[in-house]
Symmetry: C2
C-alpha cells in the first residue's frame, strides 16, 4: 500500500483538456442550458431509426458479434470504397484501414511517425485531442497561426526557421477547421504539400467535416492533391456524418504502411467493434447516406446563419467571428476585456455553454476567444443561447 507507481516519462504529458473540465462541469448542471460546447451532431441528425432498421437483419446472427478483421469488415470496406467514389476522397482498397473513430487514426499516425523530441506542428488554434496525442508521444509542438484561409504557410515556414529543424509531422484539419471553422485555400494546400515534400515531413490530413459543406465551392482534399504521395496520411471518420458513438472511421494511407497499421492497431484494440461496422455497412449499402447528408447540410446552414444573425445582433462592434462554409463550428474573438475562461462559469449560470479559446492551444494563446458549435442546437435555441452569452458578458 505504500509503494509509489513507476510511471513512464510520458505520463506527465497525458494532458486532459479544458474541454473535459468544461463538459464535466456541464454534466453537473441541472438547469436548462443551451449547449454550444460539444462537437456532436444534433440529436435529430443521428439516424437512429435507420440504424435500428439495419440492425434487425445485420445483427441477427452470432457472427455479427465475433472478432472482426483488424483492417475492417470486408462489407464495410467495400461500401466505403463505393461511397467515396466520385468524391475528393476517392481511394483504393490497399490504402484503407478501418479505425475505432478518427481519434484512433491520429493515434496510429503518432505511433508510426513520432519519436520523442520530434517537432510536430499543430494549428493555432488546433483540435485539442490531436495535439494531445502528439504530446503523448513526447513530440515538441509548434503552433502555426490559422486565418481566414486556413493554416498560414508563411507562419509554418517562420516556425521551422525559428526551430532550426523541419517537422516530422504537420497536423492540420484543412476543411471547416476545428475549432475555427475556416478552410485552407487551394493555393495553401498546394504550397503545404510542396513544403512537406521538400522537408520530408508527413502531412497528417484530418478531415472529419469535409462532407458537410453547405456553402461555397468544393476544394480538393489534401488526399486528392497528394495524388498518392506517401507523405500524406489521411484520417476520416463516420462520427460527424452518421454518429460519433459508433466509434468508426478510416485511415487512407500509402499501401506500404498497411501491414504496420494492422500490427499497430492489433496492439491497440485488436479490431473495431463489429456490430457498429455492420450497422454502418448496411446504412451505406442501402443508400441512406446521400439523403441523410443533404438534410444535414441544409439544416446546418440554417443554424450557422441563425448563429451569425444572433451574434450580429448582440456583438457587432464588440467581437468578430468566422464564416464557415460547412462543419460544426464558429470562432468568436472578443477584445482584451473579455476573459473567456473566467466567463465560462458565469455563462453556465446564465444557461449557455461553449469552449474557451485556450482549450485549443497548448500555449494558451486565445484567452479572449471561444468556440461555438452551431450544429447541435435548433435555431430558436441558438438565438436564446447567444442572448444569454451577451447577458453573461454584460454582467462581468
Amino acid at each position: 500500500m505504500t509503494t509509489s507507481l513507476p510511471l513512464a516519462a510520458r505520463a506527465d504529458l497525458l494532458v486532459g483538456s479544458v474541454i473535459d473540465s468544461s463538459t464535466s462541469l456541464l454534466a453537473q448542471q441541472s438547469h436548462d442550458i443551451v449547449r454550444f460546447a460539444m462537437g456532436s451532431p444534433a440529436a435529430e441528425a443521428i439516424p437512429w431509426e435507420l440504424l435500428q432498421e439495419v440492425g434487425r437483419s445485420g445483427l441477427g446472427s452470432s457472427s455479427a458479434f465475433d472478432y472482426a478483421a483488424t483492417e475492417g469488415e470486408p462489407d464495410l470496406r467495400a461500401a466505403l470504397l463505393e461511397m467515396l467514389e466520385g468524391t475528393t476522397d476517392r481511394t483504393t482498397d490497399d490504402r484503407l484501414t478501418i479505425t475505432s473513430g478518427g481519434m484512433q487514426g491520429l493515434d496510429l499516425a503518432a505511433k508510426l511517425f513520432i519519436d520523442p523530441g520530434d517537432l510536430v506542428t499543430v494549428e493555432s488554434p488546433t483540435y485539442t485531442n490531436g495535439s494531445a496525442t502528439a504530446l503523448a508521444y513526447q513530440a515538441e509542438l509548434a503552433e502555426i497561426e490559422v486565418d481566414a484561409e486556413g493554416m498560414s504557410i508563411d507562419a509554418l515556414r517562420a516556425a521551422v526557421d525559428r526551430a532550426g529543424r523541419t517537422p516530422k509531422l504537420i497536423y492540420t484539419v484543412p476543411t471547416f477547421q476545428n475549432p475555427s471553422g475556416t478552410s485552407m485555400s487551394l493555393a495553401r494546400r498546394t504550397e503545404l504539400l510542396e513544403l512537406a515534400r521538400s522537408w520530408g515531413s508527413v502531412v497528417l490530413d484530418d478531415d472529419p467535416y469535409g462532407m458537410l459543406r453547405f456553402a461555397g465551392a468544393d476544394v480538393p482534399s489534401l488526399h486528392e492533391l497528394a495524388d498518392g504521395d506517401p507523405l500524406v496520411f489521411s484520417v476520416r471518420t463516420f462520427s460527424k456524418i452518421i454518429a460519433p458513438g459508433l466509434r468508426l472511421g478510416w485511415v487512407d494511407a500509402d499501401p506500404s504502411l498497411q501491414t504496420l497499421l494492422i500490427n499497430a492497431k492489433q496492439s491497440m484494440d485488436t479490431c473495431a467493434n463489429l456490430p457498429a461496422q455492420r450497422l454502418v455497412a448496411g446504412f451505406l449499402q442501402r443508400g441512406y447516406l446521400k439523403d441523410h447528408l443533404a438534410t444535414q447540410r441544409t439544416e446546418y446552414r440554417r443554424r450557422k446563419e441563425a448563429m451569425q444573425a444572433a451574434l450580429a445582433e448582440h456583438f457587432t462592434g464588440r467581437a468578430t467571428w468566422t464564416d464557415p462554409e460547412g462543419g460544426f463550428f464558429l470562432w468568436v474573438s472578443f477584445g482584451d476585456e473579455v476573459d473567456t475562461e473566467e466567463l465560462f462559469a458565469r455563462a453556465l449560470a446564465a444557461g449557455v455553454a461553449y469552449i474557451p479559446g485556450n482549450a485549443f492551444s497548448p500555449g494558451r494563446r486565445f484567452p479572449h476567444d471561444l468556440r461555438l458549435c452551431f450544429a447541435s442546437t435548433p435555431t430558436d435555441r441558438i438565438h436564446e443561447g447567444v442572448a444569454r452569452l451577451a447577458g453573461a458578458i454584460d454582467q462581468g
Copy 2:
C-alpha cells in the same frame, strides 16, 4: 512519389504474430476445416438473440449513438460493479475505467508505465498481443517459464538476476493462461506480489477467462490478493464471457491513476463505442449473465474432456498436454520430431487449424508445441479435428 517515409524507431517493433498469418491463411481456405486456432467463444455461445432483444429498447434513441463518457457509460459501470459483487474481482467505482476490449487495457498499462528500454517480463509461452504491445513501447522482454502451476517464480527471480535489473512491468495471465491453459497457484500468486512489492514492479494482471472455471476450486485473483496495492493493474474483458466483437472490457486500477487513464484513453479513441456499452449494460441489468455463464461452463468442460479423450486416443506416448480447469485452451507438446510450424500447412490441407507454439514466444522457444482452442468446436467435431491432426503428423 519518391519520398521515403520518416518512420519512428518503434515502427520496427510493431510485429504481427504468427496468429495472424495463420488465420489469414485460414481465411483463404474454402474446404471444411475444424478450427482450433482462434480464441473466440463458440458461435452458439454468443447470446446474439438476447443482445438483439436488449437493443430493441436500449438502442431506440439518438442518445444511444452519441459520444460516451471516456470512463464509460454510467449504466454499464453500475451494472458491472454489481456483477462483480461477491466475486474475486469485486471492486469500487473509483478504480474502474471501461475500455475498448481487454487489449486496450494492455495498451493503457504499457502507455502509463513503459519507457523505452524498460525490462518487461512476459510468460513463456505468452499471449502474443500482450508481448507485442510491450514491444511497441520499446520494452526489452524477458520470457519466464510457465509450468503446471503457472508462471515460475524461481524462473522470474533467475531472469531478473541475469538481467541485472528489476522489471518495470510483470505481465501475466494468471488464470487458465493463454496459451497454456494452466493457472498460477495461490502460493505463487502470493510470492509474485511480494516480489513485485520488493522490486517496485507493476503487475499487469490480465485475466480474461477467470469467470469460465469449469473444474477445480476457485483461486483468489491477483486483484483480490493485492488488497488495494497500487502496483497491481488488472485488465478484464467481456470478450470471452459475452462477445468479442463488442470490444468492451475494463481496467481495475489504483484510483490515483483514474485521471491519467482517462487522458490516455481520450487520445487513443475518445471513448468506447456507446451502442455496445448499452447492449452489455442491458444484458447485465436483466440478469442474463449468470445463466449464460453456467451454460458455457458446462459446455466448455464437455469440450475440454472430449479434446483430452481424443488426444489420449491418438497421441498417448507421443505428446503431453495440459489439463485446464477453465478457459479456452489446451497446450500440446510433441517430441523433437514434430515441427509445428512446418506441420501447419499440412494440417490445414488435412482440414484442421491450430496455432504453432512459436507464435507465443518472442524468442520462438516452442517449435514442438501447439495451442488448441477447445471452446469453439462441438464435441463430435473435436474428435474429427484431432484425428485429422494425427493424420497430418503421420504423413510427415
